[in-house]
């Protein structure tokens, strides 16, 4: 049994008051380990809410430093953080919100050499990355390791997310392989409304907390998409595909793949 201090009872009172959470649910949150991959548009709200909720251990993976152009949507980084490693900038804010949590930083790119090792320490993984090679890598690593994860993607005014648990539809069930690099609109062409990152990231954080507490229905076998221009939300039912190259009946992928990354740099 977790020994709550009076301060903790007060800090988490609005969780504890929820019938579905209570002291037991908060205890599960405090004992949970969640890995956030990408400390950017999605990783920012996810990390802030998970830290505020008291998730005991939060890992955060990102190789980049804060750039001025990030601040329009990556709300965990402040103006005076420009030039600082994103994982360090994120860790400072998370600990400032809640000194109860332990933040593990991984100032590195996730690739086939470290992915399985890093995710092995966590109960739930958040994909908050910006590119398809890593999205496929996270999917494959989580399917191989039997780890649940939340997928998230945003573009212009739209977002999409689903949650994978072992045995439910994975990213490759829906999208077999990454699009050809040339087909992807470059970030500078595409752009994104900053608030969309918050809309999608908070859905991912809620899914992680639901999974940890064990309540409700997760976004499994469903792809949630929304368009902020019309504020229409749409759910597409999906299912595990027998022909899926990683989780199907005759998988053809037996090792992690580092796909070629499409160039996605703003020309300065």
């Amino acid at each position: 049994m977790y020994d709550f201090t009076e301060q903790q009872i007060e800090r988490y009172s609005r969780h504890i008051l929820l019938q579905d959470v209570g002291v037991e649910g908060q205890e599960k949150i405090l004992n949970a380990k969640v890995l956030v991959i990408g400390a950017g548009g999605l990783g920012a709200p996810v990390s802030l809410y998970l830290a505020a909720a008291g998730v005991g251990t939060i890992g955060i993976v990102d190789a980049d430093v804060v750039d001025l152009s990030n601040l329009q949507r990556q709300v965990i980084h402040f103006t005076n953080d420009v030039g600082k490693a994103k994982v360090e900038s994120a860790k400072e804010k998370m600990l400032a919100i809640n000194p109860d949590v332990k933040v593990e930083t991984y100032h590195t790119y996730l690739d086939s050499s470290n992915a399985l090792d890093i995710i092995s320490n966590y109960d739930f993984i958040i994909d908050g990355t910006d590119n398809f090679p890593v999205k496929f890598l996270i999917n494959d690593a989580c399917v191989m390791a039997g780890k649940p994860f939340s997928h998230g993607g945003i573009l212009r005014f739209t977002g999409q997310t689903f949650t994978h648990l072992p045995g439910t539809a994975c990213y490759r069930c829906m999208f077999k392989e990454p699009p050809p690099p040339g087909a992807v609109p470059t970030c500078s062409q595409a752009g994104v409304l900053g608030a969309i990152a918050g809309m999608l990231g908070t859905i991912q954080a809620a899914e992680a907390l639901k999974y940890i507490i064990g309540i409700g229905e997760l976004l499994t076998n469903r792809l949630l998409t929304f368009d902020a221009k019309t504020m229409k939300f749409h759910t597409i039912n999906t299912r595990k595909t027998d022909r899926c190259p990683i989780c199907g009946t005759h998988p053809t992928i037996d090792h992690l793949i580092d796909y070629e990354q499409a160039a996605c740099e703003l020309k300065k």
């Binding site: 990783g43 994909d127 069930c173 999208f175 999906t238 595909t241």
Partner: protein, 70 residues
């Protein structure tokens, strides 16, 4: 004329119509960025020309969305 559902919305189309033709009808800008489900079964890209749609079919277009960190 036949009714089919595309991403949850009813469309009236003329048959015969295959998946590739439906993609064109919907002015999908970058077909290489789309994954297609017919009646909740994913169909491979190389089947788009051969799969003929029927009345009341439900088709979903799923788009690649990459952004997040950058």
């Amino acid at each position: 004329m036949a009714q089919i559902k595309v991403n949850g919305e009813i469309q009236v189309v003329e048959l015969p119509l295959n998946v590739s033709e439906l993609i064109k009808l919907n002015n999908v800008e970058q077909p290489e960025m789309v994954s297609v489900q017919v009646n909740e079964e994913f169909v491979d890209r190389d089947e788009w020309n051969s799969i003929q749609l029927k009345e009341n079919d439900e088709v979903d277009f799923l788009y690649f969305m990459g952004g997040g960190a950058i």
